[in-house]
């Protein structure tokens, strides 16, 4: 179970650029839940994801992952529990290392690393098996440099790397946004397959309202650094993109109202 309680975080405190990114963000996710997160620019989606990953530490509030308080832990100390796929396909892998070396890095995620050989023979069968599930023919290219792969291929491998060892939560940060539509659809299909097969708890930030409703088991809309709308189950099934759009506009309307109040 993942529980984030009253997270608050302000960037550039005390400067003219002061920006409150999280303002009382709370979200509890049950084991096996697949949450999609939407929200306009600056709603705090990425900041929330980075706070869960440990890339930013919150000013106040608490993050508990499987009964362990990780609020103050840096990224690498959370890595055993938190897996992640980045938006940038180049960010999730090392292009100078081979495919098998990248996978070998991932297979030890969050575990101590010693002086024994990193790419062990007993791993290779597993690497090939999981790579062949992608259907990209990468299982025969284990020693190829990661940099030789296309963005879509690299993102697929990133996804594989994130699911190679068990995690309490899988964080997906708009991981299809930088891909062409066809590749994006492929990576998204792969995502849902892996999550369903391994019964993962996942949180996916997305810009696409269609994606937010079609994928996953629960949708959360963020606005001004906290949850504005949270739907799941039957209520979610009946929801369409235009309903979400209406919600969006409603929020934007509120903003405009606020501004006009300020200006008058």
């Amino acid at each position: 179970m993942i529980r984030a309680t009253d997270l608050r975080l302000t960037f550039g405190k005390g400067t003219p650029l002061e920006n409150p990114a999280l303002r009382g963000m709370s979200l509890t996710m049950a084991q096996g839940e697949f949450v999609t997160v939407i929200g306009s620019n600056g709603a705090g989606k990425s900041t929330f994801l980075n706070a869960l990953a440990g890339e930013v530490l919150v000013d106040s509030g608490q993050i508990v992952v499987d009964n362990v308080d990780v609020t103050k832990l840096p990224t690498h100390k959370r890595a055993a529990r938190v897996a992640r796929v980045f938006q940038d396909p180049l960010a999730g892998t090392c292009e100078g290392l081979s495919i098998e070396e990248n996978l070998a890095l991932a297979i030890k995620r969050g575990q101590p690393r010693g002086l024994t050989s990193a790419v062990k023979k007993q791993y290779l069968g597993r690497f090939q098996e999981s790579l062949s599930s992608l259907g990209l023919g990468l299982e025969n290219r284990l020693t190829d440099k990661m940099g030789l792969l296309s963005g879509g291929q690299r993102q697929a491998v990133s996804l594989l790397m994130a699911s190679l060892t068990p995690s309490s939560i899988l964080l997906l940060d708009e991981h299809t946004a930088a891909l062409d539509p066809k590749t994006a659809a492929f990576v998204l299909r792969l995502t849902t397959q892996i999550i369903e097969k391994q019964k993962l708890t996942a949180l996916m930030v997305t810009h696409s309202m269609k994606q937010a409703l079609e994928v996953g088991t629960r949708t959360v809309m963020l606005h001004q650094g906290k949850v504005a709308y949270d739907i799941t189950g039957d209520e979610r099934k009946g929801l369409e993109v235009k309903d979400l759009l209406a919600l969006f506009e409603q929020q934007r309307g509120l903003e405009i109202d606020d501004d006009s109040l300020l200006l008058s």
Partner: protein, 300 residues
């Protein structure tokens, strides 16, 4: 033409600078950490080994002491960067500067002579070899052992984590790698190698001098870049091999330049030649590839 003694001398120094090139490969290439500590940790290794030897220590223990001193110096640079957030280049310059005073303190004077002392080379002179061949044999063994150890390390779980740290720190953290600790370890190992090189250099030259580190970073970098031009570093093994080959080629090039009477160069021109060779080593690979692309374009 190069005399036999000058040739062996160049190879001998080349092997020592090969160790420096390994060090610079780790800092500049693996960790992407421009580390100038080298100019201080080279004489530090020489000073520590030298002082220990004249105080009656076993020369191998003295050399081990030099390695540890170098590692400590590297760790200081990395900690200044990782923990105190000082820019890596500046952190290394600060350590280098401090080491100048520390080296003077260690030796108690600007230089110490080791001419009649027992060094790591002494027992090897009993072998049936010419005097100038002995250091080449011993340093070849040291360079080869270092090469194998470094190669195994870079292929290990920790070594792979270190390579990931330099290549993509954000991804490394997400994989649970303590990137700060990796930088400290890597820069320490790097300067440990430089300490070793300094210790061997002092023992083969018969003296340790506080100024002997000036320009070591440039020579090491020249060896690395030159080696990469000859052996494309597509794998860790080739990259490490390139360090040694580059360092030997570099020293031979210097020796030829100084020996060619037609050029009229003298020993005092060494740093000028170094700067010219480094410039060539950096520019030539680019020039070559642009020439190749021009030629192939004409064909097409």
């Amino acid at each position: 033409m190069l005399s036999e003694i000058a040739f062996y001398g160049a190879v001998e120094t080349g092997l020592i600078y090969g160790l420096v090139a390994f060090a610079i490969y780790i800092s500049f290439r693996v960790l992407d950490f421009p580390d100038l500590t080298v100019d201080g940790s080279f004489p530090l290794g020489a000073a520590v080994a030298g002082v220990m030897i004249i105080n009656g220590w076993n020369p191998w223990l003295a050399t081990a002491g030099a390695i540890m001193a170098g590692m400590a110096a590297g760790a200081v640079t990395a900690i200044l960067n990782v923990k105190l957030k000082i820019l890596n280049l500046l952190a290394s310059i600060l350590t280098m500067l401090a080491l100048y005073s520390i080296n003077l303190r260690i030796m108690g004077r600007p230089n110490i002579a080791l001419l009649n002392e027992e060094t790591v080379l002494s027992p090897w002179y009993d072998l049936d070899l010419a005097y100038h061949q002995v250091p080449v044999l011993l340093f070849s063994i040291v360079a080869f052992v270092s090469l194998i150890l470094l190669w195994r390390f870079m292929k290990s779980e920790t070594g792979l984590a270190m390579r990931a740290t330099g290549a993509n720190a954000r991804m490394a953290r997400a994989q649970g790698i303590a990137t700060g600790a990796m930088i400290i370890l890597g820069v320490a190992v790097s300067n440990g190698l430089v300490g070793l090189a300094g210790a061997l250099f002092a023992q083969s030259q018969g003296a340790a001098d506080v100024t002997m580190g000036v320009g070591v970073i440039v020579v090491g970098l020249a060896s690395l870049i030159g080696g990469e031009a000859v052996i494309t570093p597509t794998t860790v093994w080739r990259a490490l091999l390139a360090c040694i080959v580059g360092a030997i080629i570099y020293r031979l090039a210097i020796a030829f330049a100084l020996n060619a009477d037609a050029l009229g160069l003298k020993a005092q021109d060494l740093n000028l030649i170094t700067a010219v060779l480094v410039t060539l080593a950096i520019v030539l690979p680019d020039a070559r590839s642009s020439l190749v692309s021009k030629l192939t374009r004409k064909k097409a």
